[in-house]
Amino acid sequence: MTTRWFGAPVQRFEDDRLLRGHGRFTDDFDEGALECCFVRSPYAHARIRSIDATAARAMPGVIAVYTAVDLPFGGVDLPLLIPHPNLTHGRTQRCLASERVRYAGEAVAFVVAETRYLAEDAAELVEVDYEPLPVVITPEASSRAEHLVHDDVPGNVAAEMLQEVGEVGKALREAPHRKRLKFRYERAAASPMEGRAVWARWSAGDRKLMVYDSTQSPTSIRGGLAVLFGLPESNVEVIAPDVGGGFGPKIMLFYPDELLVPYASMQLGRPVKWTEDRQEHFTAVNQERGQVHEVEVGFDAEGRVLALSDDFIHDGGAYTPYGIILPIISAAQVPGPYRIPNYRVRFRDMYTNATPTSPYRGAGRPHACFVMERTLDAIAADLHLDRIELRRRNLIQAGEFPYDVGVAWQDGNTVVYDSGDYPTLLDKAIANLGPKPAGDNVGMGIGIYVEGTGVGPYEGAHVQVLVSGKVVAATGIPSQGQAHATVWAQVVADELGVDVGDVEVTSGDTRRFPWGVGTFASRGAVTAGNAMHVAARMVADKAKHIAADHLEAAVEDLELAGGLVRVKGSPDRGIPLGAVAVLSNPVRYAFGGGTEAATQFAARPREGPPLRDGEQPGLEATGYYSPPGSTWASGCHAAYVRVDPKTFRLEILKYVVVHDCGRVINPLVLQGQIEGGVAQGIGGAFYERLAYDGDGQLRNASFMEFLMPYATEIPPIEIDHIETPSPLNPLGVKGAGEAGVIPVGAVLASAIEDATGIEITEMPLSPLRLFELYRLMER
């Protein structure tokens, strides 16, 4: 590999059309589509006595109103994506509720009209008679089983899981010091700038369904729709066009609209479109992060952790469509970069009358990191030890890889860290942070994390050299801003020895690549990136074999460079890749270059038929990559903050990141991922709070009151890298998408505690909450 493009800060190929306003987001597709509006439950828990859509159906401009009884799949439970033996009481919702609603925002009816305006008017005419029922909103209330979310789920417990490495009871009893701690992390919302949207067109003539979906997994949507509607998969195409941010909740499937919009199009014979509005996004789109941890830690006089026991409850929401992946990840990630010789973790996944949960950027990790880092700070305070020195004493060392943590991972294996150098991360972060700024009320915070990335099962890629010499490449996973069209082009261009600008990438379009899983879990670079590498290498091999005859040279003596297949050491003996593409397909191309060079009269005649046994036409290949295990990225964040002693306003004076995601494909893109992640972490730690009241109403379901940070709230982030290549994949890469967000809560808590003396055991914070905690401390 020439590695000419891999590692270079190539500017993005996506930008031009997005900057000109020519992006194609799902709501931009029209073709005279009918538009839709949901009727959603205003209650967090209620029995539905009756639904009357008569007036709505009679309204001019209304085409159809669907309730559960109107749907052939109205009685079908939506899929439970990832079943697990410990998920003993998994429950999923139905497309439209007909008997019971279990969270405010659950879909009850679906209105299709000529315009969105009319659909919204008609939705108000649908009369639903609810009998409100008592609710449980917090995971604590749920665990006390004050009320049941599902009548047939005892104690509201969806799942329980206990794991132990070593002998925790004994180690705790024998530890010179012991400490009990409790931590509470609240729910949070991903809030991509584009909400969810679905557009569908059924072509009755050829029985083909075409769907645009603002999803992180078009291939899975396609598979599900084909089964539900009894169509061969080849009759269903699903495209994730430009997607305006994902951050996790768009990997959830199926949301009700993903069935209803295609179904309505099939029924009505017209294109149908539904675009979420911001308010319904707040209640209808999955959330995450709610957990309460009770920790007991044993340690010695030097601050070495001898044993850690963590018993936590996870706020699962009203249903478990995504299984128990989140608490499994949290349980696995609490130890982080630290050597914990004895570790026991138990969780219970609790039903609550709130929006269901599924991964949001970080997925179980920010809370796990918060628990571990806060615990270490508490030990340091007890022993009057420096927080940095305490961490140094507990870090796994660079020579200890692969490092087996011994607990279950989300892919079914156990957690084994593949590579890393945590002490160097810490040293660099401290060096980059520099001396503490002068002044009062200034605090320092630090947090170190690991992140399991690049989970399987696999992704694939198709790479083809056209007769023009240009290259097209495709993979199944879509982009939500991660620059797939640029970074995959870099990977492919290196293997084929072409200019990066000559590689055009399509991602997330089942017409171009129908297999794959999705963009989530920081897995794109590892899975699809390596699949691109594999497929491009297959194409390069094929090109060499075809050119060898033509150039009268041995395959081993050939190389791909400068757009040619050429003889090593004799750069004038070569043939353009486009001509090789012509040679690969024994027909005549009326247009395009290469034909002259590739004519059978120009080359030494080959024996046998033009396509020998086992040969396939076309200079193309399809390759797959399936990781043997997760790659473990890591990082250290450190910050100085100042907290105003009167207003509790937070000022972040300096924020440094040292990050390790193995080999870096494109530093520009990586920097953007980290900067964006940290900003999202700052929002989640100090500004954004989902304010549910006791009735299960989200009281701040708008950007007016759910305070996402603007530029004025986000400080400059100073980023540094180390590279410990992953030994598990050919490119040596690890994932980076979620990294930035993970330790921010822990870092800011540590810094705010240092600045104010207020003990921080919860997230999120705010000036008001700090004031309340200060008053409690004063008492």
């Binding site: 306003g21 992006g23 700038m193 584009e194 911001r278 801003g481 953007g672 900067e675 950007f703 530029a711």
Partner: protein, 165 residues
């Protein structure tokens, strides 16, 4: 009203938002709708040269005014507007959904403050939400755009991409 220099009839439906009018009636889908309550700034367009939220205006209110959308900044096939070019060079966009609104806000900001201070940059873009970038690259892009505006022939930095940029 004039939209991107072309005279357009006002819609019959008086309750149609300007954002929906631009997107649905005129097919100018570069103006995005992120919240429909005037906070996110995705729908920002220029009304007589000044940034406004097109989701907080009825289309009929734009009658008699000049509306510029993202599509009106640089003609197809021609070079990007300096603000667009700066966003490209500085990797100031990821998913691209908030981007047209940001670009229009920055065009408005630089018209008022051709050489904005750091604080003016932050305040100038503090009416637009971005969930991807963390704003650092957008700040850099504003500064770069100011440079490009004052010397349009400044060389471009970084490796060349397919579009030659």
């Amino acid at each position: 009203m004039k939209v991107n220099g072309v005279q357009r009839a006002a819609p019959d439906d008086t309750r149609l938002l300007l954002s929906d009018h631009l997107r649905q009636e005129l097919g100018l889908t570069g103006t995005h709708v992120g919240c429909e309550h005037g906070v996110c700034g995705c729908c920002t367009v220029l009304l007589d040269g000044a940034p406004v939220r097109s989701c907080l205006m009825l289309a009929v209110q734009a009658e008699g005014h000049d509306v510029t959308t993202i599509e009106g900044l640089a003609r197809d096939g021609s070079a990007l507007h300096p603000v667009q070019q700066a966003f490209h060079e500085c990797h100031a966009l990821q998913c691209g959904f908030c981007t047209p609104g940001f670009v229009m806000s920055v065009v408005g900001l630089l018209a008022q403050h051709p050489h904005p201070t750091e604080q003016e940059v932050d305040e100038g873009i503090a009416g637009n939400l971005c969930r991807c970038t963390g704003y650092a690259s957008i700040r850099r892009a504003v500064t770069r755009a100011a440079e490009l505006n004052s010397s349009p022939h400044v060389g471009k930095s970084g490796p060349k991409g397919r579009d030659g940029a």
